[in-house]
Symmetry: D2
Subunit: 360 residues, 4 copies
């Protein structure tokens, strides 16, 4: 089954190209949709590159989560970069021509969480490309306060993936790092990014854990000191041996896999930190007494990115050369190769795939 | 079945009375055992009062946990107070005659946790009355560095229960409290204590949740603003209604009950704190994605007490009159009523029971 | 010299009564000024009560600070409450008729501090009644995002002083409180408020330090456990004696007085917290080595209030009955008694003075 | 004046070589003193290398601080490494032959600070070589609990300077670092070390500030992104320019110089961190209102090292290769060159000087 067809639609005035899910069911269709209007505080961005997130794959495949959350028709896509094309009358922070990307958690600003500064935990959050029209299109519209102006030294393919990189920065920096030891479960793009961030932040040792050898290679390229293929057995013993029995001071869970929750805590030093980002597909069994309580573990749910604290630190890490995420970007394709990108990503034979505009 | 028999043994010189578990199986037996010797850095305390903890009930009943952890013969007991009777040659902090109690987590001082100051998370911890001879006896021996000298204004029955009260203080003060709203799951003695601590620390509102009406009454006496009997249904809706839909800022889990883990997080505001102290009897299912990750929850395993930070703050709360835990101490009995105390506690018709010395 | 004259001006249509500083120099003049216009995101509030802050006294007196900061003509006043009279077309949070007050630090939302969530430390902050037209008037205009809707149970005179009370809440709760000991230097209204907040938050002991006996009485009424008149000598010895030589765990500096900086740290336990709010009139000598470095002190500059974290917690403390600030409000006068209020406040014979609308 | 004379004394049985201050006045004298005895919990170490700290220079020069604190006769020296020669009967952590160094703040373990885990802020601290016999000698005696066993991969000259390196690690890691910008005032050895630690911990940008060109070169070698010679004027403008006007997120004060306190805060972003380690020679004037309060600065006194949290993280940073401090060790001399080392250090023409044993 081809989940998408990339035959190019003909674009009429006032409309634009977009990859759309027209109705409930698998697949995306290249089509034309009206160019979205610009509210007073909105910014319309001409998308120049985007990337496909795991969330997008769920939407393409129309799995249980997608069925419960997505209301077609919808243009997905929330990892992107572009150029400001027009701005609403009340916009002051950016102007047409600015290179930008965006914090794609559109927060309400007025709920209990937002009013206490927890914008990334907004109770009424709308996620771009999930709850409202996204970036797999010629244009995307974003509220001004969510727009992030790019530094000129940030290259295009990095600019397109600051959203997932921000997840990694938020996770890695959610506790002390320098001079400490870590395990990262799950070496998809965010897992690999977070390895890079940990090492940039002075982690003394990082073990990367996955069952996909290609991903473990990427993890190694991002600086992992040890890579462990769990297809060959539990990682706990190896990690304890490598840490003189102390275990790791912190654990980043980026896989959502039950085994990580079963095995992961065993390698955690007492009082250690556990940052949970990977989304398990269903409720999981946890030995709360042994793994959390007696261990004095500090377990954090990680969602989105700190707005904009994470962004400032991410930019600074990139510009300083401390953090190089290029190894994770294994493919740069054109928009017309959308289908191939989806297949590559599904196959587990790619890291991050960036698709740059190849349309007039 | 009488789990214990309290017929008094005859005490010979060099021996002492003790409630002992002589061998694998249910029950405790009053008996005589040798008076424990005093090492150079040890303190021998003449016990004047003790209390029975939930842990002690597990040991009496010889449940799965007890079978896996306890090596009979053992004298249990870790909630107590007494008078220093003799000290080792190297002891400088206390002297015979001093009124004392003790931090009953005997820490090694040299493991990775201890050397970083996490004494309460010692990897080699020995718990008094669990891993070594405890306080249900005429005398108990404690390393000097675990002894806590009592302020003269702390009454006897409070002095006997500073160990579990310390659990409550540690749990309640493990995050911000003043001006925030809380739910406490489980209104056994530690749950009730923690309600008192939360209110003393300025909690604006505390909901107490249990299915035992008598415990809910104690919770009310300790200052709970709302008590919810979960025998009559889920607590979530009531809590959300009472908090204008915001939910609670913090949640203390003192029950170990699966329902608390199923329902509890639903009433937690985004970014809220969850302090876990109650020990579930087996692994539990948790909807990690919904309850922890998307909520940005901060989940902490709480073990023991901060040594001695928790003790200083606990003492100050008591002496200042901010914290009054007397309502939770529903019975003060004599040692000869040990069996009755066990039965009362099992029946759920008691809060904390303190047994004071009634032997010559 | 009468610093103000309260002869009532005649108010023409489109204008309103206001206490204004018409030009550089001491005093305020009751006058009429145009009713301020309402921008799209603005809220115009009919002021029903206001209070006079120490800052306002500086403006009245036209001291060095006022000369350097204030650009007349200016209507001062930033402690107030009122009723929403009209709102801009883009306002959604409040509507005419709502009882409100406001966070009077008008933040820009786009500077480095604001974008990292430190709204209270905005680099371009405009303070109501200092940098823009304030609340000593029939009407005041505030950006919607600064407005705080009042709970119906907050009485009028409290509603008028939530701004300085918020300073106290922010200061007191800027570190752990429960079971700890504190000293508060300076028992003006904010100092007295902070004593109340500390006690509500479980402070075990609070020493209040001032040289004005009337203020020390207010401090006592707010719950101070010890009051020390520094007119009779240094407070250090008394505090150390009362704390068994340990000193205080935290110190709130609300006086701006050099003596507090000289003596205060001496009574601070090692590792203790120092929250600085009182504004010294000029640079001060500090023995950095002895008082900060060797002591391992944690010194915080406190500015404004956390937006709106402080507000939520303050409201909850008030509504729960944990915090009662009425003793500090020594006078409730009418607007026509503005001069008298200024004189009372200057004389040091008042706590907080609230002036309620007595005009048609 | 030669402050020391290095003519070698003849060592009799039971005595050892030491550099001693025999009585009040400038200079040190090589002499023989009795070999110190070993208490039950003590460890006697055969010193193999030591280094000279700024504190030691004060003692040599007999300045005001030294006159007030030092009670001759005294053997100074607290930066050292060696081999365990003998241990008391109660010692279990190390054995003769172990390569070690030590935490040289000998803490009491029983004061209010120690009992709350703030060992580095012990109220009764005895500093090796200041308050008790130090390491400028053939042997030094340390309580077992202060001894740190060296990893075999830590080279001798690094092992000798873990004490000051620990100061730097403690200072740098006393707040978030990764992706943030810093200024370091004072580029003596600890300042230079801290630059290395900041960069290892992911600091995006570090400005080093001093007036000694040679020290600025060392700072550059340790990774400073910008070096500023304050002999040529205030550093503020340059730092603001280089940070796009934002200023630095953190400031490490390692100089003790009044100018740093005058200029330093001006370059601090609102809400920034200031870690103070350099000891000013006298009280300093600080514009508390402008520099601390309105800026919302977080100012920390930094003393010693976290015991042993700092040590674990320091070791891990060194072993991982993240932190290379060799550039700061400009000279490795023999003990017989003690005088020359003192002169070099005084002249400002050296970084850290390590003196290795050159005696039989």
């Amino acid at each position: 089954m081809a989940v998408t067809t990339t035959k190019e639609p003909i674009v009429k005035p006032g409309t634009m190209w977009a990859m759309q899910k027209p109705n409930a069911g698998p697949g995306l269709v290249p089509t034309t949709v009206p160019i979205p209007g610009v509210g007073e505080k909105d910014v319309r961005i001409r998308v120049t590159a985007f990337a496909i997130c795991g969330t997008d794959l769920h939407i393409v495949e129309w799995d249980g989560w997608a069925q419960s959350r997505i209301r077609p028709p919808l243009v997905p896509g929330h990892e992107f970069t572009g150029i400001v094309e027009s701005v609403g009358s009340g916009v002051t922070l950016v102007k047409p021509g600015d290179r930008v990307t965006a914090e794609t958690h559109i927060y309400c600003g007025i709920c209990y969480a937002c009013r206490r500064g927890l914008l990334h935990l907004c109770e009424n959050v709308q996620i771009l490309g999930v709850d409202r029209a996204g970036a797999f299109a010629d244009f995307v519209v974003i509220p001004e306060r969510n727009v992030w102006r790019l530094h000129p030294d940030i290259p295009e393919e990095i600019a397109a993936i600051l959203d997932p990189l921000g997840n990694a920065v938020h996770s890695a920096l959610a506790g002390p790092v320098a001079g400490l030891r870590f395990a990262v479960f799950g070496c998809g793009p965010i897992g690999c990014f977070s390895i890079g961030v940990l090492k940039a932040a002075g982690a003394a040792w990082v073990a990367a854990i996955d069952k996909n050898p290609m991903r473990l290679e990427l993890a190694r390229a991002m600086g992992a000191d040890m890579v462990i293929d769990v297809a060959r057995g539990k990682a706990t013993a190896e990690v304890l041996r490598a840490t003189d029995g102390r275990g790791v001071d912190g654990l980043l869970e980026m896989s959502g896999h039950p085994q990580a929750f079963r095995d992961g805590f065993e390698m955690l030093a007492n009082g250690g930190r556990v940052s949970l980002l990977g989304i398990p597909s269903k409720p999981l069994e946890i030995d709360v007494a042994k793994e959390i309580i007696f261990r004095g573990a500090q377990v954090q749910g990680i969602n989105g990115r700190l707005i904009f604290d994470t962004w400032f630190r991410m930019e600074a890490l990139l510009l300083s050369g401390k953090l190089d995420v290029k190894p994770v970007i294994t493919h740069v394709l054109g928009w017309s190769e959308f289908d191939r990108a989806v297949e590559l990503q599904r196959s587990g034979k790619a890291g991050k795939i960036v698709l740059t505009r190849d349309r007039p």
